[in-house]
């Protein structure tokens, strides 16, 4: 379980308030999606949880304890996928295990299986610069799921992809996610993505960044989202709420 308690984040010399008084709970084994207009501090929230941004106030707890990157396995996927340009696909995928020191005799076989599932077989020795955006993202997913993280944080993971690739990647992600059911916090600005990937949807507003609404989402992982009448009702509601927060 991830608990964010009364979290504030400030930036720079002028102490620009990026987030204020954010409370949030992600139950173990669920996906929580953060959605809101740009500048609402979604990415700041994610970075604070990832330990990349220090909090001006409040705290982040994982399973009741303050989160420390050295003690927990945090899977973090930034918008640019976080691959190291000088490492091959193989070495990039192994990065998490390498740093956590969890490479054992079975790692090689698991890596091979994972790369095969992700359609990266035969690309093990390529460099990120030789891959398409979708392929780079698959490598990033391989890195995360190979490590079997305690929590997973994703910053607009699919937004740089074209529509078709994005839908493919969302499916690939869900199928991998179901096997490990990692407690996940995901940032997006797509309503559809929020409804497809989130058990819980958290709406945020800007100036200052804060949480305005939390919705349970019954449509999580629905096989044929677009043909479900409930989808349109919920999508409409979500859009309306996002617009309201922007107007407010």
């Amino acid at each position: 379980m991830i608990e964010v308690k009364n979290l504030s984040v400030r930036y720079g010399e002028e102490k620009f308030v990026a987030l204020t008084g954010v409370n949030l709970t992600v139950p173990t084994g669920t996906v929580c999606v953060l959605i809101g207009p740009s500048g609402c501090g979604k990415s700041s929230l994610l970075r604070a949880v990832a330990g990349l941004q220090s909090a001006a106030g409040g705290e982040v707890l994982v399973d009741g304890l303050p989160l420390k990157p050295t003690e927990k396995k945090i899977g973090f996927m930034p918008q640019n996928y976080g691959l190291l340009p000088w490492r091959t696909v193989r070495d990039n995928a192994l990065l998490g295990c390498r740093i956590k020191g969890t490479i054992d005799s079975g790692t090689e076989a698991r890596l091979a299986r994972l790369l095969a599932v992700l359609g990266l077989k035969g690309m093990e020795d390529r460099y990120p610069g030789e891959l398409s955006g979708g392929q780079q993202q698959r490598v990033s997913l391989a890195r995360i799921f190979l490590m079997e993280p305690d929590i997973l944080l994703m910053d607009e993971p699919f937004s740089a992809l074209d529509t078709i690739t994005r839908e493919d990647m969302q499916e690939v992600f869900l199928s991998l996610w179901r096997k490990q059911a990692v407690t996940t916090l995901l940032v997006t600005h797509y309503v559809e993505e929020a409804l497809y990937l989130g058990n819980k949807i958290v709406l945020m507003a800007s100036h200052p960044g804060r949480v305005t609404d939390v919705m349970e989402n019954p449509l999580f992982g629905a096989t044929d989202l677009r043909s479900d009448p409930a989808y349109f009702a919920l999508a409409g509601e979500l859009r309306r709420k996002i617009k309201e927060t922007r107007g407010a």
């Binding site: 990832a50 190291l84 490492r87 610069g129």
Partner: protein
Amino acid sequence: MKKIWSYLAGGIFFTLLWWGVSLVLSLPIVPSPWEVVARLLQTFTETVAIHGFYSLWRIMVGLLLAILLGFPLGLSMGYYPSLDRYLAPLVYLTYPVPKIALLPIFMLLGGVGEAPKIIMIFLIVVFQVIIAVRDSIRAIPAETYYPLFSLGASFRHLFSEVLWPASLPKFITALRVALATAISVLFFTETFGTQYGMGYFIMDAWLRVNYLDMYVGIMVLSLMGLALFSLLDAIEYRATRWQRKG
């Protein structure tokens, strides 16, 4: 392979050019390449080799010291901006000073032995290394570190996964640029206070009006530079494969 052949062709071109000039001028000051090679083969083991060894040793030690000091210093300056604020002015103020002009001082302080010669090479290479490494560390986008920070990576991992590979290309380029200057400076320092080294060998042959020996010296010194250059090229080729992709 193609590259090797084109470089070989270049070598043949220069040799033929030299030969042509020697035929046209027909003066003792420009012997033909064949005579020089014959002389080299004849005298290499008994006289030239020991001089070549001294020069190579001085370059290697100077280079190694410059790397041992320059790399960590450049790395710290690039990684910690606060340290850079203090050290950058010192580096910038000393960098443009022509190091060779300091040779008399080093010779007075350190004697005419090995130390001043090695210090000269060290001084020429170390600044290039510091600046190249610092700049490449500074150019690493903050996001590159994120996956490592969120994994709780230690400095050792940060070094091996990010800092070292990110600085390697510019680091090697800096060594290559500095090397050419270092060899010229080595030649100059070896004309003072030593009986060994290619610089001494060439100047000694010149004073003895032994032009054949002089050319042997020039040839060996040039080949030495070429060998060091190729060595750096080979290291760069292996180490920065990722840069040529995509």
